[in-house]
Symmetry: C2
Subunit: 346 residues, 2 copies
DNA sequence: CTGAAAGCGCTTACAG
DNA sequence: CTGAAAGCGCTTACAG
């Protein structure tokens, strides 16, 4: 019932060596003869001894912990994507012997919340942190980078002269957006609208830029009435369509949504007005959300490998923490069209 | 670019007091005059000082971290429920000023994985841990309890003489199961089958017991051919129905699934064989999974408040860690029927 | 190859 | 009300 309170002094005594030697064995120093090592390891195993992490860190070792910071607006967080992200980071960190301290930031502009995040870094609980869902160039993250902490940010611009302690990762949103327009154009659509994502996020901007460029390349003109504001949420997709319908102007024959959640919301609004997808209007998403395949209609979208991206981000971050040479500071992942049932030929 | 490496000695010097006093201010000792306190706090704020967590822990303070251990079989973990659990624990721990170290256990019988978990406790990285998805009386968890660690286990039996360092939480599965049978019985069903959950889990057993009892109370007999094995996964629901259909015996008019995932799998298998739900057979689930409402047909099920349960579990665990008096060692949550479209009157 | 000793940055009796 | 000092459990130059 009593917690075994054995420490390195005790192990040293039982093995008949000094604490220095015990420490050398634990830290795999090469200058310990096999015999001594085995003797010490035996005592360690017999007594269920694990070195106290705080003492190790205080003595200069790494915390072997990375922070995972999820910036999620107030909304309920039953998101399946979020879960994939978390699990991906945890599992890959684990493979490197690292632990993950997850923290949720409900409002990245709230001073107190920012202070909580800073505290985690300054208290040295973590060796580095990954941020997901941040605005591009979010000031408090920039500050942490300036302060020298090892930081990885998903969906973020890499500065022209990147600091050695910063890495970013992105999908090739430009390519993805061009694929959506190319596909719709191929189906004969010329009247194509878009629901934008959050323009404070890098992906919101690059997707919109990609859309504009692709429309031009395909010789199509953009009708500003059909370019709707959104913020990557289901609700924003729903509301943007409601607003569009309320204006009682003509509809495009196809809409490119900034992501699948937005597409779901848009389809929900359309359905409520008796407008059928894809019979009356085609909708294409972005992300290939876990639900898109099961959605009615099954959503045509751009597939993106979040799990793999976070895996790479985690490995890169750990490499950076351990000061291993890193080939690059930016991870870019390709993405590609998945055709399902939400778009039709015109 | 250089990390500010200020410590309490430096703060003390700048404030013109001793480190003892700085520590007293940080730890809210009552015997520090307001003037001294303010002077110190000012210096702390000016210099972005946060006490080193490792040093605090080593000196005897709590790590203010709880471990969240998810036991999930090898399968892909894009589960929306898992995400709710994680987020619920993180947010409520955060409210108490605690951090969460999440760890995934792919195989609770693997010695190395168990050792990894033990390490986290023995290294004193965490003050206590919550386990989700464990078998009832999982040996390695029992051992951690014996070793005196503060442990909370979801879906677990409380021993007759509970240790002071153990808490458990459960849904009233018995009640839930009785509601499913009562509802089906009310719809006129007499030929009711069941797909069991994992019988190593407490909920698997209590749901099955509840089913048997409820059938008896409603004066219905159980046909053993219609009581199928399962393990709480979509796949097991699918496979159990495939196996049943392969036997080419009669079907029940209704099936109670151990949870919604199992129900989804069962419906998928039935659909593949052209058997319609609810027209040809009624299916009722358990959990009210986030997808159940959007499922075709929308799933009739038992609603359970996972998020609230984990919230309570987290609060209880922290109370236990802080040695606050705890009214009870077991959390039991009620659950109730949600009628949708997957069952029909006979 | 190995031990004695200093040091990591805190907290907290202890003494005044 | 406050400071000097011991102690938490490690690691790692340093010396031999």
């Amino acid at each position: 019932m009593k917690k075994s309170d054995i420490n390195s002094t005790e192990i040293a005594r039982l093995a008949g060596v000094s604490r220095s030697t015990v420490s050398r064995v634990i830290n795999n120093y090469s200058n310990v003869p096999a015999e001594t090592r085995d003797k010490v390891l035996k005592v360690i195993a017999e007594h269920n001894y694990f070195p106290n992490a705080s003492a190790q860190v205080l003595a200069g070792k790494r915390a072997r912990t990375i922070g995972l910071f999820l910036i999620e607006q107030g909304r309920v967080s039953g998101d399946i994507l979020t879960n994939m992200l978390i699990v991906s980071v945890i599992e890959h960190a684990s493979e490197h012997g690292y632990y993950v301290l997850t923290h949720i930031i409900r409002d990245a502009k709230d001073t107190e919340m920012i202070q909580n995040v800073r505290e985690i870094f300054f208290q040295r609980r973590i060796d580095g942190g990954i941020f997901i869902g941040a605005d591009n160039r979010e000031p408090f993250i920039e500050q942490l980078v300036d302060e020298g902490f090892v930081i990885g940010v998903v969906d973020q611009e890499l500065p022209e002269h990147p600091e050695p302690n910063r890495i970013v990762s992105n999908f090739n949103n430009d390519s993805g957006m061009k694929q959506t327009v190319a596909y719709l154009s191929g189906l004969g659509h010329t009247q194509i609208g878009a629901i934008n994502g959050d323009m404070n996020r890098l992906s919101g901007r690059t997707k919109h830029e990609g859309f504009k460029q692709a429309m031009g390349m395909c010789g199509l003109t953009i009708n500003p009435d059909w370019v709707l504001d959104g913020d990557f949420n289901e609700t924003s997709g729903y509301e943007s369509i409601q607003a569009l319908l309320a204006r009682k102007i003509g509809l495009p024959t196809a809409i490119v949504a900034a992501n699948d959640s937005v597409a779901f919301g848009a389809i929900r609004a359309l359905k409520e007005h008796g407008i059928r997808v894809p019979d009356d209007i085609s909708i294409i998403g972005f992300d290939d959300h876990a639900l898109s395949e099961k959605h009615h209609p099954a959503l045509t979208t751009i597939r993106v490998d979040m799990s793999e991206m976070l895996k790479r981000m985690t490995s890169f971050l750990i490499a950076l923490i351990e000061q291993k040479p890193l080939a690059m500071k930016e991870i870019t992942m390709e993405c590609s069209l998945v055709v399902r049932d939400s778009c039709r030929r015109i």
